[in-house]
């Protein structure tokens, strides 16, 4: 079993739809959870950052962490064609200097106008 599982998609939605992206993980010691957005031939861009469980909202984006289920989600409201990209979930252990991010393989999202 991979440490982080993410459905690669592709996921295609019409403009204005609500998008739900998800990851599951196996290591209960993960404490930091991130979502990166990666456009084609670009580096990953940090989109959302959450510590431990709970929700975090930033504009049209909401990140949720459910540590009891080892499940994280990213919701995109009122999706736009500019949201078309690959979304990578990432997570990290707590209080361990220098630990690398563990990534899901990414979900490719396409929003059509």
């Amino acid at each position: 079993q991979k440490e982080v599982e993410q459905d690669p998609g592709p996921l295609s939605v019409p403009e204005g739809a609500i998008v739900s992206l998800n990851c599951t993980y196996s290591n209960s010691a993960f404490q930091y959870f991130m979502w990166y957005r990666q456009y084609s031939r670009k580096g990953p861009e940090l989109l959302m950052y959450t510590y431990s469980s709970g929700n975090k909202e930033d504009g049209r984006f909401t990140a949720q962490v459910d540590k009891s289920s080892k499940y994280i989600s990213l919701f995109i409201r009122d999706s736009q064609p500019s949201d078309s990209a690959t979304y990578l979930c990432a997570m990290r252990l707590a209080n361990q200097a220098g630990t690398a991010l563990i990534f899901g393989k990414g979900t490719t999202l396409s929003v059509s106008s």
């Binding site: 930091y32 670009k42 580096g43 940090l46 950052y49 220098g98 630990t99 690398a100 563990i102």
Partner: protein, 115 residues
């Protein structure tokens, strides 16, 4: 301010040749990471530097891979005797500290193709 920069953006080489990839982290960031992104494999950690401490090389796939960081800033990833399976995008990230909660910011990557 400037983000993480990497050069070259693309590199095509022949099997068996050595290549050097460069990373310039965000000014003031003490932690620097190298990752590799292969088709179907996602992002994999390669090596980590923090200040002047010995690097964490636990992710390097073979002894053909090495990296150094000069003066606590610029880093170079070297791949010797390249193989076709080394073809991937090599990404560098920097972070203001090595603390577990510190955010990592990525460069645009170097796309390596080994013929």
């Amino acid at each position: 301010g400037a983000g993480v920069s990497q050069s070259p953006s693309n590199k095509v080489t022949e099997k068996g040749k050595d290549v050097e990839l460069r990373c310039d982290p965000i000014s003031g960031h003490t932690a620097l990471y190298w990752y590799r992104q292969s088709l179907g494999q996602g992002l994999e950690f390669l090596i980590y530097f923090q200040g002047n401490s010995a690097p964490d090389k636990s992710g390097l796939p073979s002894d053909r891979f090495s990296a150094e960081r000069t003066g606590g800033s610029v880093s170079t990833l070297t791949i010797q005797r390249t193989q076709q399976e080394d073809s991937a995008v090599y990404l560098c990230a920097s972070s203001p500290s090595a603390h577990g909660g510190a955010r990592q910011f990525f460069g645009p990557g170097t796309r390596l193709t080994v013929l």
